[in-house]
């Protein structure tokens, strides 16, 4: 068993990373969001197109609304209505919709996740614990078994992590570090929920299993 850093050193480093990440990137740290963007990398193109069509061609939006109105009420009815109003809706070019959502390219998120792998490799090298290991240690084997049961535990557990973090809107870094530290209600609820669930589940398999 290799030595780990003292708790206070890990705390300081994690706080430094969470704050530094926000200050450097102007986005709060959140790893589950990077997973989302990688899984949905195809939606980046749609997002860019939708955004440029809104900012560069604002009339497209109005035309689409008008087309939908005509489809719903019929052209004659719409023409009669416009005539009865005797007016044109003022349209100025300055009346552009204020849509400006900054979104970085999904490959940045891919690079981020890959650099976590690299960080793990460097960390293991520093601890002098480098090498290929197929299991998750004897404690995991005692609790969940080996062979097929072991593989299914990891896959199902991973799927729960993936689905759960998406449904909850964040994970340990997004809700736990970035959110709970700012006392965001949703993040406090999420952090208490996932920690309690993990404690109850672990206690149950440890003492009852």
């Amino acid at each position: 068993m290799s030595e780990f850093l003292p708790w206070w050193a890990t705390s300081i480093l994690l706080a430094f990373i969470t704050l530094g990440f926000y200050l450097a990137n102007n986005r709060t740290l959140g790893v589950s969001g990077s997973w989302t963007r990688i899984v949905q990398f195809k939606s980046d193109k749609d997002f860019a197109e939708a955004q440029s069509s809104l900012t560069e061609r604002p009339k497209m939006f109005e035309d689409a609304l008008m087309a939908a109105t005509i489809e719903h009420f019929g052209e004659a009815e719409v023409a009669r209505f416009l005539e009865s109003r005797h007016q044109q809706v003022p349209r100025s070019e300055e009346n552009r919709p204020m849509v400006e959502v900054k979104r970085i390219h999904w490959t940045v998120h891919l690079a981020f996740l890959c650099s976590l792998i690299l960080g793990g490799l460097i960390g293991a090298a520093i601890r002098g614990d480098i090498g290929i290991q197929m299991d998750m240690g004897s404690v995991h084997a005692d609790l969940f078994g080996e062979g097929f049961a072991y593989l299914m535990t990891l896959f199902i557990g991973g799927a729960l992590v993936g689905f759960g973090t998406q449904l909850a809107g964040g994970c340990t870094s997004g809700h736990g570090l970035s959110g709970a530290s700012r006392l965001v209600p949703a993040s406090l609820v999420a952090t208490l929920s996932f920690f309690s669930a993990a404690v109850i589940f672990s206690m149950a398999i440890h003492y009852l299993g």
């Binding site: 780990f4 740290l29 460097i122 293991a124 290991q133 240690g137 340990t172 709970a180 700012r182 669930a197």
Partner: protein
């Protein structure tokens, strides 16, 4: 997109590597350590979380008081999603970042966890999200 610069890549990679090393050195990628934390027999690791949140709080209070940082919304998915995540974490010893750190450390079982995460995210986004209509927001976008 036009907003992305080389600077984004550099900072994301630097913080990714730093975070990976920290999680690995801190013992957070070790299943035994995490399991002991969850049966409340690993007080140092509990202190890691409390300390990190406390120090981050201090930092956000002093450095970013005047900034308006977006907040996530509490909705019907927050609690069920977090409970699922907590159970998944207890089963694999991995949260979304730690699965990758474990792979880097040479724990090849993490490949299955990662495959599971990708499946879970895909199932949520492709099948569940269009039906749930929850404003979950996206983390770290």
């Amino acid at each position: 997109m036009q907003n992305t610069t080389i600077r984004d890549y550099v900072f994301y990679i630097l913080f990714g590597i730093g975070m990976g090393i920290t999680l690995s050195l801190g013992g957070l990628s070790d299943f035994e350590q995490i399991h002991k934390l969850f049966i409340l027999q690993n007080i140092p690791l509990l202190l890691v979380f409390c300390g990190a949140i406390g120090l981050t709080m201090l930092g956000f209070c002093t450095l970013c008081r005047k900034r308006d940082i977006p907040k996530k919304t509490l909705n019907g998915g927050t609690i069920p999603g977090s409970v699922m995540f907590g159970i998944g974490w207890a089963m694999t010893g991995a949260c979304p970042s730690i699965a990758l750190v474990q792979l880097g450390e040479g724990k090849f079982g993490a490949l299955l966890t990662i495959f599971g995460i990708l499946t879970g995210v895909w199932v949520y986004r492709a099948i569940a999200a269009p039906n749930f209509r929850l404003d979950t927001g996206v983390c770290g976008e």
